[in-house]
Symmetry: C2
Subunit: 159 residues, 2 copies
DNA sequence: CCATTATGGTTTCTAGGGAAACCTTCGTCA
DNA sequence: TGACGAAGGTTTCCCTAGAAACCATAATGG
């Protein structure tokens, strides 16, 4: 047994606690909630951060590709990009080959900001999963990857 | 190594993929998304289902306790209860001892419905985590419990 | 015993994201 | 080449949930 049983057994009986998905959401909500709060202090939403990160780390990013990889609709992405644009962290330039397409890029300010946000993300992950040993962390990562693989999940999670 | 490396290594390099939280959200989003879609076919939201389940499985449920256990604000819970009430799945009766307090209970229709929804939840969990062996499932559950324990997470996850 | 504070629940306002309609531009094919 | 469908992006509408203001009632304490 891995965990502190007395604590958990004290909880109100609920058949759903036998679901792995239950624990998965519980933990996932907490870790992303804590990250969202950290970003909030800088007036940045998780979606904005994910978009910024994708723009900084994928080749030739466009709104459509972002929507695909983030698992958001194009409408939603459009609004997120508006925000990033208003904050002068990204630039949108229309493609020469296809005037429907926009290429997205980080501005100088965006390039300065991104590593700071990445550091926050690193710290959040580190702090949260430090409750596990290195070996347990590797096991957990492996199991999650196996699930993602089995179900062909490819979307970068946003919320 | 647990997973299919060639598949994952073909992904665009992104430093965040080293975060366990990244994989956690990715997988969690997928499992709860698939569950949400299953409920959607019956015009039921995840929040409604969680509330219904709590009402059916906790002693003397009240809106305030629900808000606590679900990690939602009381305002949000109030609206969810309005929906369940409109569908005639729950009843609200004000307490004799404290007229501010409402006790929540399932109606006959609610009692009939709940097991069906629970079966959907069971099926969803089962189907998704079948990609892991029984032993891996136990390991995963243990690791998630350990994290929830370490961080004193007690809220039933909603979305 | 009354004033103040705390608590339970609802309502209002706002922000974020999906769905779908919309506009523009590109590709196809007759 | 011109019509039609597909694709990229934006806008509009709607729904959900949080924040905060609000109302009613209970508890506290002077």
């Amino acid at each position: 047994m891995v965990s502190n049983d007395t604590f958990w057994n004290s909880r109100v009986a609920n058949p759903l606690e036998s679901h792995i998905g239950y624990w998965l959401r519980m933990v996932s909500n907490q870790v992303s909630g804590s990250f969202a709060r950290a970003l909030q202090e800088r007036q940045i939403s998780v979606a904005e951060w994910v978009a910024l990160n994708q723009i900084g780390n994928t080749p030739d990013p466009t709104p459509a590709r972002l929507a695909d990889s983030m698992g958001m609709t194009r409408g939603a992405v459009s609004k997120v990009l508006d925000k990033l644009d208003a904050k002068n962290w990204i630039a949108r330039t229309t493609s020469d080959q296809d005037s429907r397409v926009q290429f997205l890029s980080l501005t100088a300010a965006g390039r300065r900001l991104l590593p700071q946000l990445t550091a926050i993300a690193d710290g959040n992950d580190e702090r949260f999963f430090n409750a596990l040993t290195k070996s347990e962390q590797a096991t957990l990562r492996g199991l999650l990857r196996k699930l993602a693989d089995a179900h062909h999940i490819t979307q970068t999670p946003v919320e």
